[in-house]
């Protein structure tokens, strides 16, 4: 099974277009959360990934993962407590392309699942993982996202 991973497991940073975050004071029943963080933007994965795998003439469905990692641009502040399990995210196509010069077979572009990983203090790094797939000479260059989470922010007390 062919797989992809964007960005690859090296120091390649994410590229985000129009990243925006806002924090809203909230209350929850039976929980310490006092802040809802909401963010939107577009993750740029512009690339020309292989569509024939290892020169195989057959076209496999290539499954894989997009990682959205917010480190220096994390919305979490020092002292925030991320509420485990509170992450929520929506992802969708923002830019797709299809090249029919060499490939006129059926194509697939898919975003299948999305998961916001819990953040354990003192880390402030926020990670969102999106699984997807593609078939043929096509790609998902940009993925729009909307991310939300609950935190306890001491400065909101």
């Amino acid at each position: 099974m062919a797989h992809f991973l964007f960005p690859p497991d090296d120091d390649t940073p994410n590229v985000f277009l129009n990243p925006r975050w806002l924090a809203v004071p909230v209350q929850v029943l039976d929980g310490v959360a006092n802040c809802y963080i909401s963010g939107t933007g577009v993750a740029d994965f512009t690339a020309d990934p292989p569509w024939r795998w290892r020169n195989d003439e057959s076209l496999p469905l290539i499954k894989g993962k997009f990682k959205l990692t917010f480190t220096s641009d994390s919305p979490l502040q020092i002292g925030d407590l991320y509420i485990a399990g509170s992450g929520i995210a929506t992802v969708a196509f923002a830019h797709v392309d299809r090249d029919t010069d060499a490939d006129t077979t059926p194509f697939v572009l898919a975003l299948d699942t999305v998961l916001v990983k819990d953040v354990k203090p003192p880390s402030r790094e926020l990670k969102v993982e999106v699984t997807g797939a593609y078939l043929g000479d096509c790609w998902m260059d940009k993925i729009a996202y909307q991310i939300g989470m609950l935190v306890y922010r001491p400065s909101f007390c």
């Binding site: 310490v32 992450g87 992802v91 006129t104 699942t113």
Partner: protein
């Protein structure tokens, strides 16, 4: 019409279904957020074929009617498509709205999608829905109790979710009686304390409180729930503020932010 259920029990109907509920403003109003990837698997054979999809959130709609009593925002977007590249194709998520089921009151997302191709399939679309009630939650107060961790940690049974404080409306009687709590409305905390920085925090919520009645909300530490305090602190807890005067009204039927800090005075 396709009916899809946004619960983990139906992974082939909605992928990654998530929801959040919290309160905004004071008096607090309920806000709910829903996200997921619906899987209609809607195909076409050459024509532009429309389909209507209902995503079931498995929660009741807010009290009252739209748009007088609650409002919403909603988006639907393409998440998974496939087609034959030699043919023209169209994929569309053209309309969406949020409604309450007339019979069950369940909150629903309505989406109108379309696909054209020979063949072409709109396999998945993602959605994001925010629903805000305009009606303040009646008879509720929310707050927290905090203390510095050098006073002591909660005992194991409390860490595992046992009660640590009681909080409720109380009346101050002459000593030695002291505070007398109204058993009808007084609650015991049931959420494990959170250790944040150098503090412990326990949330509390009281519901069903009467309207237009003066109340004094008072906390108390339950015996045997704190491993401490060490000397030279007194074992008798104190709270700042010691109580909140509250009078819920029709216009402001609930309050948030009734936070207490527990301390222990130094002996001598």
């Amino acid at each position: 019409m396709k009916n899809l259920h946004a619960t983990p029990a139906y992974p082939n109907e909605v992928s990654s279904p998530r929801s959040l509920t919290f309160y905004v403003g004071n008096p607090p109003r309920q806000m709910q957020i829903f996200s997921g990837i619906a899987i209609p698997e809607w195909d076409s054979q050459k024509r532009l074929d429309y389909e209507e999809v209902l995503v079931h959130f498995n929660v009741p709609a807010p009290q009252g009617n739209y748009p007088g009593d609650w409002e919403y925002t909603a988006t639907t977007s393409l998440a998974s498509v496939r087609a034959d590249a030699e043919e023209d194709f169209t994929f569309a998520t053209e309309e969406c709205s949020v409604l309450a089921d007339e019979n069950t009151g369940e909150l629903l997302l309505y989406a109108k999608i379309a696909v054209l191709g020979e063949p072409a399939v709109l396999s998945r679309f993602s959605y994001h829905v925010e629903v805000l009630s305009k009606i303040p939650v009646p008879g509720m107060v929310l707050g927290s109790i905090r203390w510095k961790d050098f006073y002591g940690d909660p005992v194991t049974s409390v860490i595992n979710g046992g009660a640590m404080f009681k909080v409720g409306p109380a009346t101050l009687k002459p000593l030695p009686a002291g505070w007398q709590w109204d058993a009808q409305f007084t609650i015991e905390t049931s959420v494990a304390p959170q250790h944040i920085g150098k503090e412990w925090v326990v949330p509390y919520s009281i519901t069903g409180l009467p309207i237009n009645k003066a109340l004094i909300i008072v906390p108390d530490l339950l015996p045997g729930t704190l491993a401490g305090p060490p000397g030279p602190f007194s074992p008798l807890s104190a709270f700042a503020p010691p109580f909140y005067d509250v009078k819920l009204t029709t216009a402001a039927p609930s309050e948030v932010g009734l936070d207490f800090e527990m301390t222990f005075p130094v002996i001598g």
